[in-house]
Amino acid sequence: MKWAKILFFILMAFIVVAAFIFYSKVFVYLIGAVIFSYILDPAVTWLEHRRIPRWLSVLFVYLTVAGLIAWFTSRMIPDIVAQANNLIAILSQEGGINKDILLQVPFLHGIHEYTLSLDARIPGLNISNEFTNILDNATGFLAKLPKVLLDNYSTIIGAVSFLGMIPLISFFLLKDKHKLRKAALKLSSNRYFELAIIILGKIDSTVGTYLRAMIFEVVAVSIMASIALSIVGVSNPILIGVTAGLTNIIPYFGPFVAGGLAVLTVLFEGGPLTAIVYAGIAMWAVQVVDNNIVYPLVVGTTINMHPLLVLLTVLAGGWYGGILWMLISVPLAFLTYSLVSVLYTNLKEYKII
């Protein structure tokens, strides 16, 4: 290789690294915009096929989405905020939650009475003390919850401004989707051109299909859970329903989070044991409909990951970046696995490795 060529490649590598460092802060915006573009792309393409210029199609879709968000905000957000305030009020009662307040909850009161009667019958058992110790530990955790929410208030505000930037970047990604794709493929040499097309196509179809299916499922589960919980008379149904939709992204374990929240709500409100059973049945029914109708219809196949791997991925995600990463770690791992397997198969078929 000639020296001039080596120098050119060193210079190019330097420029790429410098650009990576310079733009590193906006990568997260770019990823958000890419996700947003993938979700809206079918609607834009559909309009474009009906002879509406692509830039105008993007504007039409934006206006429709903005209208939907405005409608949702005016109709649903006040309810969700009221329900969230209600839940926080329960968790931050005067003097914080302590075991005495918890022991007033009829269900827990019943268990406490039962442990006392066991202690009376079996000398030296002392199980009621163990039970109150468990409640003490639980209240310590619950009392911290409102503080955690308040401490993260600035993060939430940051997220709102982040959400404002995404549609702007996304507009250009949607409008120039084909130009960007062509430019990316132009970078590949003739030897790797077909391979690059296959990889890009797979990324496009896997990521696009998965993201759209995920969004559809979040909305479907949120609506179904809200309706089911309203029917069985659980308080804060919309809040719990939306939580159910969001946590449903995590396979196997996500549905239990919302189920647990529904049961906790009934417990704190002093509902009878039958109400807990009804809440459980309602959430189970939502899962049955989701697993057997919604998910197979919108995704086609389920995420074929072992439950242990899902658990480890969620734990690693939580360790790495908190709740947000717990939610996105499983889809991210699934997408990475899919793309690596496509890359490996094709590199083999093109006799590159």
Binding site: H49, W55, N190, F193, E194, I198, G201, K351
Partner: protein, 155 residues
Amino acid sequence: MKTSWQWLKSLFSKPQTYLRYRGYPLFAELGSYDLYLLDDRMHERKFKIGETIFESGFPVEVVYFIRSGEVLQSGAYSSNQERTISHPHQLGLLDMFHGEYRSSTAIAKTEVLIDAISRSDLLDYMKARPHCGVKILEAVCKEFSNMIFEKAKDN
């Protein structure tokens, strides 16, 4: 004012170079808006003399339309004999409907300029625009029948 308007218009419209695709028999019957949408899926590639365009046994993913230059094709299609093809012919159409892997090898005989489209993009395009799909499939049928009669004459 007029110049500003034209400049603004040029930002949102692209030059009508896509009309050249009518030169390929497969797209000869498509309307200009259909070609405009097809252009989004087409990729221009240049090959030097002696450069391999594709090899027999590799996966089939792209159909190549020769815009200029000559290509030497050898393999199953021509009964292990070589043939030279040029504009407005295409490479890979038989393989696209036949199987997963290339049945022939194509090498640039001269400098070659090619319009390439991925198989999945072409099939998606035909699904999204069924009236174009019918026209393209009609052209494919014509191509195949010509090919069969030529073969029969040779034998």
